[in-house]
């Protein structure tokens, strides 16, 4: 019995090259959108925009811009999560969606009749209809490649190892290590720096407030009034 397999996506090293999207489309022979005629989204550098029946991999561009020269991109390659409790699999009335020996969730295109219940059941907006087949489709975690011992096309093509393929147990260990590495590289240091700055700012503000208060009292004394505190 093969081990449960999956992806570990490290968004910190994704550069948004979309090689995974292209590799996925090429291997799975997915049709071009809009009949191959280039269609720009018009409001983003990301023109594929979402996961659907002909985009089983999608690099999401999270564009945080305050102005034309002040902003940043966050890149995140998204894909089916092959859920442990998969809503799509549970709701499918034809039995087209199955769990494989690799613990992945696969839609059998020759069984699916396109009722689209799985689309509404998926909490991640992963599944949609492939207009060519008329059936619901999504990532199969390259079931055909796994069967012959190959890794999925997207992780094979990823130039920065943002997408890593392996057994779930191994990937979990790898992910924990990566989090520790990131923290050591600066997240904790940043936190310490931020906390120090905050404490220093508070101290400075406190001193300034005390100085201000002292000055007011001295002014009141010099006017000879004498406040409630002066007995």
């Amino acid at each position: 019995m093969p081990e449960p397999m999956g992806f570990f996506t490290d968004t910190t090293v994704c550069i948004g090259c979309k090689a995974c999207e292209v590799a996925c489309k090429e291997w799975n022979q997915l049709p071009a959108a809009n009949g191959g005629i280039g269609e720009l989204s018009g409001d983003s550098y990301d023109n594929t925009r979402k996961l659907d029946g002909i985009h089983w991999r999608h690099v999401r561009f999270i564009e945080q811009f305050k102005g034309p020269y002040d902003g940043r991109w966050l890149m995140m390659s998204d894909v089916c999560k092959h859920c442990v409790q998969a809503g799509c699999l549970e709701v499918c009335p034809t039995g087209a969606i199955i769990r494989t020996e690799f613990d992945t969730v696969v839609i059998q295109s020759d069984v699916c009749n396109g009722c689209r219940a799985c689309i509404a059941a998926c909490p991640f907006g992963v599944i949609d209809v492939n207009p060519v087949s008329g059936t619901a489709q999504k990532c199969t975690l390259c079931y055909d490649r796994l069967k012959v011992g190959l890794e999925p096309a997207c992780s094979k093509a990823c130039p920065t190892d943002s997408i890593q393929f392996g057994s779930i147990t191994e990937l979990r260990t790898r992910a924990h290590k990566r989090v520790d590495q990131l923290k050591a590289q600066g997240v904790k240091a940043e936190l310490a720096k931020s906390a120090t700055f905050s404490a220093a700012s508070a101290a400075v503000l406190g001193v300034l407030a005390l100085v201000g208060l002292r000055k007011r009292r001295m002014d009141e004394q010099s006017r000879g009034g004498g406040g409630a505190g002066n007995v």
């Binding site: 009335p93 034809t94 020759d110 909490p123 991640f124």
Partner: protein
């Protein structure tokens, strides 16, 4: 924000809206026919026969609408049998769409049998085979078949709402009241359809008055459940701000519930009230489906 905003729309549009509407009418008419069949008098027979006919035609039309809506219509039978292991049965008791496919099949079977029994009673069957089947459905068997058609009718009217509630889509998944709302609407539209159609089959004034009284109550329940449905949505209600909210308020509540309620209570001509109820029932399905279908998850995730 509800996490249902990040899911994808299933593209359930016109065929499904029509199915929800027709299925609701068929289910409501079937239940009313069964109740009058079991507990009514001989003066109610025209309404009973009309009810079973509406149920039978509605079930057939529903099946056709659902089949046309599939991405691969010729694979409609995959809902009933395991395609790779025919004739093993395909049934998932925990999936409303699988349960619904079987429910519609059985509803159609019993509704058609009950309708044939009614037509045989009137002597309207000329085909020998149909006459034999219709003739067999009489007495206790007719009551049993009609009762099952009535009970399955309630299921058909309501499971569609439950089916929407167990998705992960905005509005639908954010309230547990859609099933109850669709049952109430199915009952009111079923009664309205009978008020319009039964007089042609010789329905008595007494029967029509009963239907009108039932429709009044069903509309009151529908209004109450609609209020509960909207109250349960909480902050998700902001989705209604726009065209579909207007349709719900003016079309469903105003024209489809309050106006016919007033007409029923004033004992005005029944047909006008019935037509308004049918319009309201259709608009309810239309607004409920399209208000959610219009939300595209990639726009939500992009914050647009």
């Amino acid at each position: 924000m509800s996490d249902s905003f990040f899911s994808g729309a299933p593209h359930w549009t016109w065929f499904i809206i029509l199915y929800f509407f027709v299925g609701g009418i068929a289910g409501g008419a079937s239940l009313l026919a069964a109740i009058l069949d079991w507990f009514g008098g001989t003066e109610d027979r025209p309404v009973v026969r009309t009810g079973y006919n509406v149920a039978a035609v509605g079930a057939i039309v529903s099946g056709a609408l659902l089949t046309i809506d599939l991405g691969r219509p010729l694979r409609f039978w995959h809902m009933i049998f395991q395609s790779a292991n025919f004739p093993a049965v395909m049934f998932k008791g925990w999936s409303p769409i699988s349960f619904g496919a079987w429910g519609l099949l059985l509803f159609g079977l019993f509704a058609v049998l009950a309708a044939l029994g009614g037509m045989a009673e009137e002597g309207r069957l000329h085909n020998p085979a149909l006459r034999a089947v219709g003739g067999a459905v009489r007495g206790g068997l007719a009551k049993l078949v009609g009762g099952l058609a009535g009970l399955l009718g309630v299921f058909i009217a309501g499971y569609t709402g439950v089916l929407l509630s167990v998705t992960n889509r905005p509005i639908w998944a954010d309230s547990p009241w859609l099933g109850a709302l669709f049952i109430a609407s199915g009952m009111s539209t079923g009664a309205a359809a009978l008020i319009l159609l039964a007089p042609r089959r010789g329905a008595t004034e007494q029967s029509l008055a009963r239907l009108s009284a039932f429709d009044t109550k069903a509309l009151a329940v529908e209004l109450l459940v609609l209020v509960l449905f909207l109250a349960s949505l909480g902050s998700v209600n902001r989705v209604w701000i726009g065209f579909w909210g207007l349709v719900l308020l003016v079309g469903v509540v105003g024209l489809g519930i309050l106006a016919p309620l007033r007409l029923h209570l004033q004992r005005r001509p029944l047909a006008s009230a019935a037509k308004l109820v049918l319009l309201g029932g259709f608009l309810l399905r239309l607004a409920t489906i399209f208000v959610s279908e219009g939300i595209e998850h990639y726009r939500v995730t992009a914050g647009m």
